[in-house]
């Protein structure tokens, strides 16, 4: 696999941490739900990566 860009990783980290913090302070979603949310985020970023590469 090609190297994952630093910027992409940075953005993902930021978004994930923001989501986690929001959930910690509201307890709206349980662990399973959070895992699902994170899965969606990663799938989304994976798409963006392809997009950026013009695929």
């Amino acid at each position: 696999m090609e190297e994952i860009s630093k910027q992409l990783l940075q953005d993902m980290t930021f978004q994930v941490l923001h989501m986690e913090r929001k959930n910690l302070r509201s307890k709206a979603k349980n662990d399973q739900k959070m895992s699902e949310e994170l899965q969606k985020v990663i799938v989304d970023y994976a798409k963006r990566k392809c997009w950026a590469k013009g695929q």
Partner: protein, 672 residues
């Protein structure tokens, strides 16, 4: 995070509803609540704690159940069917949200006795957006405690709900606090831990686990590899569980070792101990006698005078009536009983009117006789007056004297109790017939135990590692057998992204944690030195964020384990100021685009300066409004001047208690 308001309803001595709104102004972020001793400041300060965590800080020797939360006046008015509510509502705000927390208990009365019984308990929390007008969201009941702990970490509660008088080394439910996790919550590091948990650590529902399952293979070989893989995963988890158990056991053994070692150290010299024991016995007896004597004085004073004081208003009322009657007396000066007898016997009054028994005139003359000796109640009235005055004078100084005696008793009782505790412990040590050999054997056994467990742990870790390797091999094989299709390629890509994210989070977390620790440790020493002018002492955070104090000796620094009250307070102040300062700084950094989002906490202080000297008070007081987002402080009127905090005060309140009333009220101060 700031507190917006607190409202109390029938909470302890606060009858009805009382409310305080806190200053949230920038630059004037201090709210001060002043009141004299025993008027009810601590009750309000404890209301914060009770609302958040359902418990108040208890005095030595007393338990939660001993404190009656329902206001007594309200209780007195209840009958067997009544219900009364006690509630406290706390509203806090951060940048985005408003949090309203309400804890309520409904009581009934065990009529006719003055005892309240809990009938129903309720804890609710509502969150709303500050900016939008969207309706309140009610948090699910079972999540409220967890959420409260996230916003106001309970293990930090002794710091941000600071009690200057009631401090003791804290054990909540017998377990020593774990401050580290709470500090992580405050610094935003807990988000990292949560992310890592959801990405991988939580096991089969984690992101990585889920992604792995999506990758399909072709054929039976692939499927059997996949199931082998799962077996490995389960084996790894069970090894890890085993390892955790072993670690707990090791830590228990270590604790026991430490206990035995300390014990041996402390008991080396029995002869000196015996003399100490005898001396302590003598002291104890003397103190016991002193206590008894102080008690006797108060009992005597109380027995002799209390009833005179209690009768006050009644005596007053009776005196008024007596005076009114005495004033209406219409006795004739120099008149004698004999004179009236003579007139009556003669059957004719001086004015000439005929006198016969039963007539109005006759009755009037008889009446007059009552105002003359020996039937003179005038003199009886006079005696009554004199007794009333005598009672009043006897109790003129009674309040102050009683107060003085109460202080004396307290002093004696505290001293005596401390001595008793020491005496008992010393006695136990002497009684133990210290068999050094036996203790040493035990120590050896523990140490052997630790070694064995250590090697067991090592074995388990080895096993886990070999399963891990096995799993990796299997996964490699599986990768090779993977269906070479678009679907799998995508999932493989996502999986790698997830793994990369996990790795980054893990590295960042470790790095951040170290950085935070280093900064906090450095800052806590600075603050301690600055606020307490400490030259021979220093404080330091252990790995677990325990705050340890060290004092200088010729051979370096030694840990001080027995801190005085003043030292404990200094240590804790330094800690909380450091944490507050750090949070505030981080928050400012965040606005400049840094990664972390973190929290700040308000600080609520109850008589924080009562055990400190003037110098310290000034130094600390100055730091507070600068480092915290919000300061709420309860203190004596007379101490306020020493703080120098006037310019920071946004709102001020007084707690007042009228002499005849048993309840207190909170009043807002106008202007300042």
């Amino acid at each position: 995070m700031r507190f917006e308001s607190i409202a109390l309803h029938n909470f302890m001595r606060y009858k009805g509803e009382n409310r305080i709104e806190f200053s949230c102004e920038e630059g004037k972020n201090v709210t001060v609540i002043l009141g004299d001793n025993t008027v009810g400041k601590t009750t309000v300060a404890q209301a914060f704690r009770w609302c958040l965590y359902g418990a108040v800080l208890t005095e030595r020797g007393k338990r939660q159940e001993d404190y009656q939360l329902l206001n007594s006046d309200t209780l007195e008015l209840m009958n067997a069917d009544s219900r009364a509510k006690v509630w406290v509502e706390l509203v806090a705000i951060d940048e985005e949200k408003r949090y309203a927390i309400r804890r309520e208990i409904v009581y009934t009365r065990a009529f006719p006795s003055l005892m309240a019984e809990e009938f129903q308990k309720k804890l609710t929390m509502h969150i709303s957006d500050i900016c939008s007008s969207q309706p309140l969201v009610e948090v699910e009941e079972r999540k409220v405690d967890e959420l409260i702990n996230e916003l106001f970490p309970r293990n930090l509660s002794h710091y941000f709900l600071f009690d200057g008088e009631r401090w003791s080394d804290i054990a909540i439910n017998g377990v020593r606090e774990n401050i580290k996790d709470s500090v992580h919550i405050l610094t935003g590091l807990s988000a990292y831990q949560a992310a890592m948990k959801h990405l991988k650590d939580m096991g089969s529902y984690s992101v990585i686990s889920k992604f792995k399952k999506k990758i399909t293979g072709s054929g039976n070989l692939y499927d059997s590899l996949a199931s082998e893989c799962q077996k490995c995963e389960r084996a790894i988890q069970s090894c890890q569980k085993e390892i955790r158990n072993i670690e707990v056991n090791i830590s228990n053994y270590k604790k026991k070792c430490q206990e035995v070692q300390e014990y041996l150290e402390a008991n080396r010299n029995t002869e000196a101990l015996q003399k100490q024991y005898r001396d302590l016995g003598t002291l104890k007896k003397a103190q016991e006698e002193r206590c008894a004597s102080e008690h006797r004085m108060l009992v005597n004073e109380f027995s002799d005078k209390a009833y005179m004081a209690f009768a006050g208003p009644m005596v007053q009322a009776a005196m008024e009536l007596v005076k009114a009657v005495a004033g209406e007396r219409r006795d004739i000066p120099h008149m004698r009983q004999a004179t009236i007898d003579y007139i009556m016997k003669g059957g004719r009054c001086i004015c000439g009117a005929k006198l016969s028994p039963g007539t109005k005139e006759w009755e009037r003359l008889l009446e007059q006789k009552n105002y003359l000796p020996p039937a003179d109640i005038g003199s009886l009235l006079g005696e009554f007056e004199r007794t009333a005055f005598r009672w009043k004078n006897r109790v003129e100084d009674f309040p102050e004297e009683a107060q003085e005696m109460a202080s004396q008793i307290d002093g004696c009782v505290k001293e005596y109790e401390e001595t008793c505790n020491e005496y008992v412990m010393l006695g136990q040590r002497l009684d133990a017939h210290i068999d050094f050999a036996e203790h040493r054997n035990r120590l050896r056994r523990y140490q052997v135990g630790i070694q064995e467990l250590g090697s067991q742990k090592g074995q388990m870790q080895g096993k886990a590692q070999s399963y891990q390797r096995q799993k990796q091999h299997l996964e490699e094989e599986m990768k090779g057998l993977e269906a070479r299709n678009e679907e799998n390629r995508r999932w493989r890509e996502r999986l790698e992204l997830a793994e990369a994210l996990y790795k980054k989070l893990s590295q960042d977390f470790t790095m951040e944690e170290k950085k935070v620790f280093k900064e906090l440790n450095g800052q806590i020493q600075n603050n301690f030195r600055r606020m307490f002018n400490a030259k021979e002492k220093k404080i330091e955070l252990s790995e677990k964020y325990d705050i340890q104090m060290y004092y200088k000796t010729e051979v370096g620094y030694r840990e001080e384990k027995n801190l005085s009250e003043g030292e404990k307070i200094a240590r804790n102040f330094a800690f909380i100021v450091t944490i507050m300062e750090y949070s505030k700084k981080r928050k400012a950094e965040k606005n400049a685009g840094a990664m972390q989002e973190n929290d700040t906490l308000p600080i609520v202080l109850d008589s924080p300066f009562s055990k400190l000297g003037d110098e310290n008070i000034r130094l600390i007081a100055k730091a507070l409004p600068e480092v915290s987002e919000q300061v709420i402080i309860f203190m004596l009127k007379k101490d306020w001047g020493y703080t120098g905090l006037d310019e920071y005060v946004g709102k001020a309140y007084y707690i007042e208690k009228e002499a005849e009333k048993s309840y207190a009220t909170i009043r807002k101060a106008e202007g300042r």
